[in-house]
C-alpha cells in the first residue's frame, strides 16, 4: 500500500541503505499534515451514511432517466447498489485520508473501474455528479476545519478526475 513511509522505505531498500535524513524529513512532513487528514477521516466516517444518501439523491435528481426501465436504476435493488457504490468511494476516500496518499483509491477503486463500468453499461457521469455534489456541499466550519476540508476535497477531486 503506497504511503509516504512505504515509498521512502522502498527507495531506501532499493539502494540498500539505512533511512537517511532526507527520508526522515519526508516522513516528518507527512506527520505534520496528519492532524487535518485524520480529522477529515473522522468526520467523514461519522457522517458517511448521510453523505452517501445526499450524494445519491443528488445524482438521481440530476439524471432522473436512470430510474426508467432498462437503465442503471430501474428497480430498487439497482438503486441500492448505486448508493452502495457511492458509499464505497467515500470509504476509500476515508482510507486515503488515513494513509495520506491515493493508494487505497488507486488500488481498490480506480484500477479496472473503467472496464467494469463499460461491461456493466453503467454511466460514470452519475458517479461524477454524486461526488461533485459532495464536494460542493461540504463546507467549513459546519462539517470540518478548513484544512481538513481541503484534504477531503482534494481526494474527492482525484476520484472525480479518474472517473470523468
Amino acid at each position: 500500500m503506497k504511503s509516504v513511509a512505504t515509498t521512502v522505505v522502498t527507495a531506501a531498500d532499493a539502494a540498500g541503505r539505512f533511512p537517511s535524513q532526507n527520508d526522515l524529513e519526508a516522513v516528518q512532513g507527512n506527520i505534520q499534515r496528519a492532524a487535518a487528514r485524520l480529522e477529515a477521516a473522522e468526520k467523514l466516517a461519522e457522517g458517511l451514511d448521510k453523505v452517501t444518501k445526499e450524494a445519491g439523491d443528488a445524482c438521481f435528481s440530476k439524471y432522473p432517466y436512470l430510474k426508467q426501465a432498462g437503465e442503471a436504476g430501474e428497480n430498487q435493488t439497482k438503486v441500492d447498489k448505486c448508493y452502495r457504490d457511492i458509499a464505497h468511494y467515500l470509504r476509500l476516500i476515508n482510507y486515503c485520508l488515513v494513509v495520506g496518499g491515493t493508494g487505497p483509491l488507486d488500488e481498490w477503486g480506480i484500477a479496472g473501474a473503467r472496464e467494469v463500468y463499460r461491461t456493466l453499461r453503467l454511466p460514470t457521469a452519475a458517479y461524477v455528479e454524486a461526488l461533485t455534489f459532495t464536494r460542493d456541499r461540504a463546507c467549513s466550519p459546519r462539517d470540518m476545519s478548513p484544512q481538513a476540508l481541503n484534504e477531503f476535497k482534494s481526494y474527492l477531486d482525484y476520484a472525480i478526475n479518474a472517473l470523468s
Partner: protein
Amino acid sequence: MLDAFSRAVVSADAKTAPIGGGELAALRNYVAEGNKRLDAVNAITSNASCIVSDAVTGMICENTGLIQAGGNCYPNRRMAACLRDGEIVLRYISYALLAGDASVLDDRCLNGLKETYIALGVPLQSAGRAVAIMKASSTAHINETNTSGTNPVETRFRKMETVKGDCSALVAEAASYFDRVIGALG
C-alpha cells in the same frame, strides 16, 4: 509493504467499514510521537556500524570457536558476510521502526531467512545471539542509557544529545522487532 496507517486501512477494508474513532486514536498517537520515532530511527542508523560490529564481536567473544579454523566466522570472507548480514537485519528493523509496522521486516528479511541459514550451515543460535546484542545496544541508544561499560576510561561511546523524554513505548516497539528476528531464527 504496510505502515501503521495502511495497516489500519487494510484491516478496516476486510470489514468494509470506514475508519473512525477508536482506530484513529492509535494513529493520532503515532502522529503525536512522530518526532520521537524519527529520533529513534536516527539513533539506530547513526550508530549502525557500531551496533553491528559490537554485536558480532560480542557473539565471537562468547564463542571463540567461531573464529578458529573450521568456525563459521573463519576466514575473513565469512566474518565479512556475518557483518554484512548483521547490517542487513538492522537495516530492515530500522525500516520497520520508521513505518511502525513489521510487514517490511517479515516480507523482505525474515521470510525464508532461517531456511537459508540452515542451507548455508550458519549457526542459528549464534546469529540469534548477535541480534540479541544488537537489541540491547539499539534500545540503549534510543533511550540514551548507553554507558562506557566496564572500562571507566573508555571514550569510544557517544550519546545522541537529543532531548530526553519518555521513550518506553518506542523502545518496546523496537525491541519487539528484534525479538521477531530472534523468533524467526529459533
